[in-house]
């Protein structure tokens, strides 16, 4: 038995293949890689179905120290947009981006339009610990900054995919409004507390505290990145007792010894919470903020 393929059949098959290829291209999502789940979550909220987001640092790990793995480079090698935290927090990202060998990836420093806090006014050296010379880099913990980052991401996505630029901008505005609503709600709930002070392990929570009008009179670390000494812990015991500070926020990647000691000595309530949200899902960023508020008010 023999088969004869006509010229018309070949042309039809080629035309079908071209149509399929072009529709696949049209449906191809913009691959985005973010240093943190928080930036990834914002990108997912802004990008919607047009983006596919991956993240590098795990929410339970210290974002200051991320081991550069070749698999991260492979992820970035396929990306069109990389979202950096900036302010010298994720310097490891440069190594990942360089190792990706990706000539087309656009790098967005998400700190570009935020107003940094704790910018040193004097020369920075090792005596001040792990101080970031351009300011505290944990800005994503203020939802207002989440809104600013969303607008920057929308602009970057619009440059990559102009056909969806308007959608990106609209989603960014919606997201920024949700951020502000969550913050206002958080401020109201914190305002109802009899004591709006807290101790934090590392200076990760400065932006969060400012966003909800809380005061941080002390950190477990005497200076950023340096574990506490006995003398410093005793000072904290006195401070907590004197000001009846109710809450200590501790990142999961630091030793529990000092917070447990302070809890035994003063009865302070230790809340172990990551400064980053759980995943790069669109609702994860604000869910994380709302959960933090809920844990602090004890509901």
């Amino acid at each position: 038995m023999s088969y004869r393929i006509s010229f018309r059949t070949v042309v039809a098959a080629l035309a079908l293949a071209c149509c399929l290829a072009s529709s696949t291209r049209a449906m191809a999502k913009i691959k985005v890689v973010a240093s943190l789940t928080d930036l990834g979550s914002i990108a997912a909220a802004v990008g919607g179905d047009q983006v596919e987001v991956k993240t590098i640092a795990r929410p339970q790990s210290d974002p200051h120290h991320v081991e550069v793995l070749p698999s991260y480079m492979v992820s970035v090698s396929k990306a069109r947009l990389y979202l950096k935290v900036g302010l010298m927090l994720d310097q490891w990202a440069d190594q990942i981006i360089d190792g990706s060998r990706n000539n087309k990836v656009e790098i967005l420093d998400c700190s570009a339009h935020i107003i940094p806090l704790e910018v040193p006014t004097t020369r920075v050296d090792g005596r001040q610990g792990d101080v970031h010379p351009n300011g505290n880099p944990h800005y994503w913990l203020d939802p207002r900054n989440g809104g600013i980052v969303a607008r920057d991401i929308a602009a970057a996505l619009g440059r990559i995919d102009p056909a969806h630029e308007v959608e990106f901008r609209q989603r960014a505005e919606t997201f920024a409004k949700e951020c502000e609503d969550s913050r206002v709600d958080g401020v109201a709930r914190i305002a109802a507390l009899p004591n709006r002070t807290m101790i934090t392990y590392h200076a990760s929570w400065v932006y969060f505290a400012e966003a909800v009008a809380m005061e941080v009179p002390g950190h477990v670390e005497p200076v950023p990145g340096i574990p506490p000494t006995g003398g410093h812990l005793q000072e904290l015991v006195d401070l907590i007792r004197q000001r009846q500070i109710p809450v200590l926020l501790q990142e999961p990647y630091y030793s529990q010894d000092a917070p447990e000691f302070l809890a035994r000595q003063t009865g302070i309530r230790v809340i172990k919470a990551s400064p980053s949200c759980d995943s790069a899902q669109p609702d994860s960023y604000l869910a994380h903020f709302n959960k933090l508020i809920a844990e602090i008010v004890g509901s």
């Binding site: 793995l69 492979v74 090698s77 060998r101 000539n103 610990g129 574990p227 030793s255």
Partner: protein, 378 residues
């Protein structure tokens, strides 16, 4: 190996130049790091002039400069300052992007990526010094460090695993080996030297793979091979083959185990001279391996053990072995680390020969760094 040394005056000039640079130059200054590595050592090695006495040594100080040269290229220099003076340990550029097919091009002088350990600087080791099998088999005095050009490419691989192939064309200086004088008449060494200063290009190829295990742990595998001329007059060659594996396994947020091993096979033709037949050679084909395990807990503490066994690269090919224990702590944070170690080295002997006593060496090294290059990666 050719070593370039610089006088103390040169060091002072560079220091003053850096210190005296106007503040506005900061925007284009490279990252600068200085890493000190003083140590205490006690050994019962009779060949060591300080045996059975405590030796305090400033060790080698590394000065590192690195930064982007332009949007496509990064540059890196390491100067090693030791009792012999100042040496350019590494100085290279890498074109990271812009080349066709995502190729990377590296050029200059650098610790070659043969296996896992050779490319690393000793201050990143969890133990005191590199393994004997590497210094015995790889070309070069302290490490396999060569000038050359390297092209590398990431190959297609499934999922997020990584497969990278690289090929380097090297100057070949570190392969050179001076042949002993045979005394016999007509030996070119006694007549006009043996062209021992000449070198011929060498090659190094490597294939390395990485795969994630779970979210954070990983497995590395690699195959390496290098070949070069060790005596130009005789046309004799040194070839080394290697296979390596490393597993970094996290068992909690703050603790992990590193297991690493390398196997090496040396194939070296040693040039000789005979008055009757002229140049001849004898081939040695020893092999050896090392393995170590390093457990890190609470991020700042680590302890581990190592073992290596290899044949001497000579006619007898007796088996040498070494066992070591090591531990360390990063004080306060990663800029200062203390590392303590003990090694028991047993030299092999030919059948019928007396077995030499094993040599014990205790060390305590302090590693401290200023600048972005730290003693330890958490």
């Amino acid at each position: 190996m050719i070593r370039r040394r610089y006088s103390p005056a040169c060091i002072i000039f560079i220091s003053l130049w850096i210190a005296g640079a106007p503040a506005v130059a900061g925007v284009v200054n490279p990252n600068i790091s200085v890493i000190g590595q003083p140590y205490l050592m006690v050994t019962d090695d009779p060949a060591n002039p300080d045996h059975d006495r405590l030796r305090m040594d400033p060790g080698e100080t590394e000065v590192v400069f690195d930064d982007y040269l332009n949007p496509f290229t990064r540059g890196y220099f390491t100067l090693a300052l030791n009792e012999d003076g100042l040496e350019l340990e590494e100085g290279w550029f890498r074109i990271l992007r812009g080349l066709p097919g995502a190729l990377n091009l590296k050029g200059g002088k650098w610790r070659q990526g043969f296996g896992k350990l050779n490319a690393q600087h000793p201050h990143t080791y969890p133990f005191f010094d590199g393994f004997h099998v590497l210094s015995e088999f790889l070309p070069g005095d302290e490490s396999f460090n060569e000038s050359g050009l390297e092209l590398s490419e990431r190959l297609p691989s499934p999922g997020e695993s990584s497969l990278v192939a690289s090929l380097a064309w090297l100057q070949g200086d570190s392969f050179r080996q001076v042949r002993g004088d045979t005394i016999g008449s007509g030996d070119p060494i006694s007549l006009s030297g043996d062209r021992s200063e000449e070198s011929r290009p060498a090659v190094l190829g490597r294939l390395s793979a990485f795969s994630l295990i779970g979210e954070r742990s990983g497995l590395d595998f690699g195959l390496s091979a290098t070949s070069g001329t060790n005596n130009v007059a005789a046309g004799t060659r040194t070839t080394v083959y290697g296979a390596d594996a490393k597993a970094k396994l996290w068992n909690s947020e703050r603790s992990y185990l590193v297991l690493q091993a390398e196997v090496l096979k040396l194939d070296r033709e040693d040039a000789g001279w005979s008055c009757a037949t002229g140049y001849a050679h004898e081939t040695v084909k020893p092999w050896g391996w090392y393995i170590y395990g390093d457990y890190n807990w609470d991020l700042r503490w680590n302890a581990g053990a190592s073992f290596e066994r290899y044949q001497a690269a000579d006619r007898d090919q007796a088996w040498n072995s070494a066992f070591g224990l090591f531990g360390g702590v990063a004080l306060m944070e990663e800029t200062t680390a203390f590392r303590v170690g003990w090694e028991r080295f047993r030299t092999g002997s030919a059948p019928g020969d007396v077995q030499p006593d094993p040599v014990n060496t205790f060390t305590l090294r302090v590693i401290f760094s200023m600048g972005p290059h730290k003693t330890h990666q958490f």
